[in-house]
């Protein structure tokens, strides 16, 4: 049976969908920054970035387990100070794991190729290979290392620190504490990254390498250090996004849980203009909202299709994305 075309449903729950879309969109945006920065500096699409995100989910989960939380059906809901502290610590756990994994990936997979001057296609295939290696690591090896508490075929039992509760309504749509936390944290991190890239010495290094690696090196910028820093920033943001994502989707911690989300984040990066930091942000939010509208109109099973159709449509009219490719050009 073909999905029904239901414009009425869109009108009926427009604001609720917009809010859902913005929360997802801001998660896409954070992950998209990782794709965009690496592309800007290396002209490489790091397809393993979705697995960096996935490792972040396991990182924050492992951190929570270390603090003594056991998976259970209901949220812990244990009061302001503690919830805050543990969420913060879990986020750091996710950031550390993702950041380390991203830098490690760069070391193990990409740096040897760069040393040998491998062609761009080899990098791309390596990225896809690394993506599978990381997935299967969590699928098969991690359970053996952790005595079957982490990884494996099934999703982790959720650990919920806080249950969503409505804070206020806007045009009839409820906004929960979790929605607000996700959007506010993601925007703050995106803004911080923007300031870091466009306003600090390190950021200037990244921009200079993106613009002209040879001249940047002549000017005393260490290209290797810049590349490492770029992977680190992307990884740390993916780790933060991982925590925000599990706030919203507690059952999503699984070895292949980053795959579709990663592809969507990549779409978001391309949509906004790959290599363009602000483009990644805009693309993420736009994609999140569009896929919510789209799946309501065309049917739930079309969610992923809608995301890619939006991408194709935009690229038909603006092949370089909405804001264009521009990490190299100083925009600050």
């Amino acid at each position: 049976m073909l999905a029904s075309f239901d414009i009425g449903a869109l009108g009926h729950s427009f604001w609720a969908l917009t809010i859902s879309g913005l929360t997802y969109g801001s998660i896409y945006a954070l992950v998209a920054v990782g794709y965009t920065l690496v592309y800007g500096v290396l002209r490489l699409i790091n397809f393993a970035h979705s697995e960096i995100f996935m490792l972040g989910m396991f990182g924050q989960y492992a951190a929570l387990m270390m603090f003594g939380f056991a998976p259970q059906g209901d949220a812990y809901d244990m009061g302001v100070a503690q919830t805050l502290m543990y969420l913060g610590l879990a986020m750091i756990g996710g950031m550390v794991v993702s950041g380390a994994a991203a830098v490690g990936l760069e070391r193990v997979a990409y740096r040897p190729l760069r040393r040998r001057g491998a062609p761009a296609l080899v990098f791309l295939i390596t990225a896809i290979g690394a993506s599978f290696v990381l997935q299967e690591f969590v699928h098969f090896v991690l359970p053996k290392l952790t005595n079957n508490t982490l990884g494996g075929l099934n999703a982790q039992q959720p650990i919920r620190l806080v249950s969503p509760s409505t804070q206020f309504t806007i045009f009839g749509a409820t906004v929960t504490n979790v929605d607000i936390a996700i959007v506010v944290s993601a925007l703050a991190l995106a803004f911080a990254t923007d300031r870091f890239i466009n306003g600090t010495k390190f950021g200037r290094g990244i921009r200079s390498v993106a613009q002209d690696p040879v001249t940047a090196t002549l000017m005393g910028v260490s290209r290797e250090r810049v590349i490492m820093l770029t992977f680190l920033i992307g990884g740390v943001l993916a780790g933060a996004a991982a925590l925000l994502y599990t706030l919203r989707v507690p059952n999503g911690i699984i070895y292949n849980g980053g795959f579709i989300l990663g592809i969507k984040a990549f779409c978001a990066a391309v949509l906004g203009g790959i290599g363009n930091l602000r483009g990644a942000l805009l693309g993420g939010l736009l994609l999140g909202v569009m896929e919510m509208y789209g799946q309501t109109v065309f049917g739930n099973e079309w969610r992923d299709v809608v995301a890619f159709v939006v991408l194709v449509l935009v690229l038909m009219f603006r092949p370089t994305g909405i804001l264009g490719e521009s990490l190299g050009r100083a925009r600050a």
């Binding site: 999905a3 449903a9 009926h12 729950s13 609720a16 969908l17 859902s20 259970q72 059906g73 209901d74 949220a75 812990y76 809901d77 244990m78 009061g79 302001v80 100070a81 503690q82 919830t83 805050l84 969420l87 913060g88 986020m91 099934n154 999703a155 039992q157 620190l161 806080v162 969503p164 509760s165 804070q167 929960t176 504490n177 607000i180 936390a181 996700i182 959007v183 506010v184 944290s185 703050a188 991190l189 803004f191 911080a192 300031r195 870091f196 306003g199 600090t200 010495k201 706030l247 919203r248 989707v249 507690p250 059952n251 999503g252 849980g257 919510m292 799946q295 309501t296 739930n300 099973e301």
Partner: protein, 401 residues
Amino acid sequence: MRSSTPRLAGVALVTIAGLVLVGCSSKAPSASSTGTSGALTIQPLVQIDKAGKEVKSQAGGTAANPAGDGKATCASTTTIALTGANAALGINIANGVKLAIKQHNDPTKDCQLQFKGFDPEGAPAKAPAVATQIINDANVIGLIGPAFSGETKATGAAFHDAGLLSLTASATNPALTTNGWNNFFRGLANDAVQGPSVAAYMVNTAGFKKVCVVKDDSDYGVGLAQQITTGLGSAADASCALSVKTGDKDFSSAVQSIKSAAPDAIFYSGYYAEAAPFVAQLRTGGVTATFVSADGTNDPQFVKQAGSASKGALLSCPCGPAPADFEKAYEAAFNVSSGVYSVEAYDLATIVLKAIDGGAKDRASVVNFVKGYSGDGLARHYQWDSTGELSSALIWIYQVK
């Protein structure tokens, strides 16, 4: 670094503020918020027929006892075979059979029956080789199994040719009894009974006027949803008949559609892995309609993952509940609680034991005994029609409470 450090610090503060918000709005620590899910379990509610009407369970009081009178005699090599010994579902079944044999052997000195487990790993491709092994073992007088519909389909003809009793406690594909295998008997209702029964129950007994049927994309989910939708008739609201995908963890858009439709109940046609986050998100989204699902969701994991959101959910199953005495004996013997189909396996093994105690010495006489059998077990009354289906196939409705 220019002046960006203070700005960065400011941004960090905003991030923290966002997280504080989560903290602020979360309730103060309360004893009730933790541990509530620990108390929730899936409990039997009512047994229903195809019209959705309650059928009082008369089984249990006069259930056949595997122990017998202790005077039976038989060859000490007589073996009851079982397939699916190592699979998760297989363990529930194997333990049920083992318990029955143990209760039979303990008081019956002159008839010490053997038990032999075979494991085709639920794979139809591996089943024929295992079947040959079972058939060629001259000591095997009867088989409890095969456990899954796929392997039953692959081996049914071989068991039929060998004239070996094939008594399944868990294979529910309706087509299995249409092959003319007169040695095959099904100890529970098949899939074609579950859908119409549950649909009739929702409309006639529970009185739901408007039901949203949500299905996943598995064969099981799609097939069951079709039967449920047909059975519900006008109560099935087409405007909120939704499809999701196996592996989905986020259902925000589906929740919105259901919220606008405001149904009396939601029927989820799929497995617990998606049902658990789905029901959690429905409750978070403010949907209070009754959550109904079938045997794919009838698993302790559903309650474990969904927590208090699973409270009140109605879950159907062709499998019967375990009586307290059975549960006690089972736990004493195996150190785990019984699972889905343990009771069926125990009942069916008991019937085979009765055949042997009654003097059946070869495969043909065991098949004949089962063909003419009529008696109560722990789960239900067992009597088969000419195709090998139960003459009265009933469905159990369970509730999370």
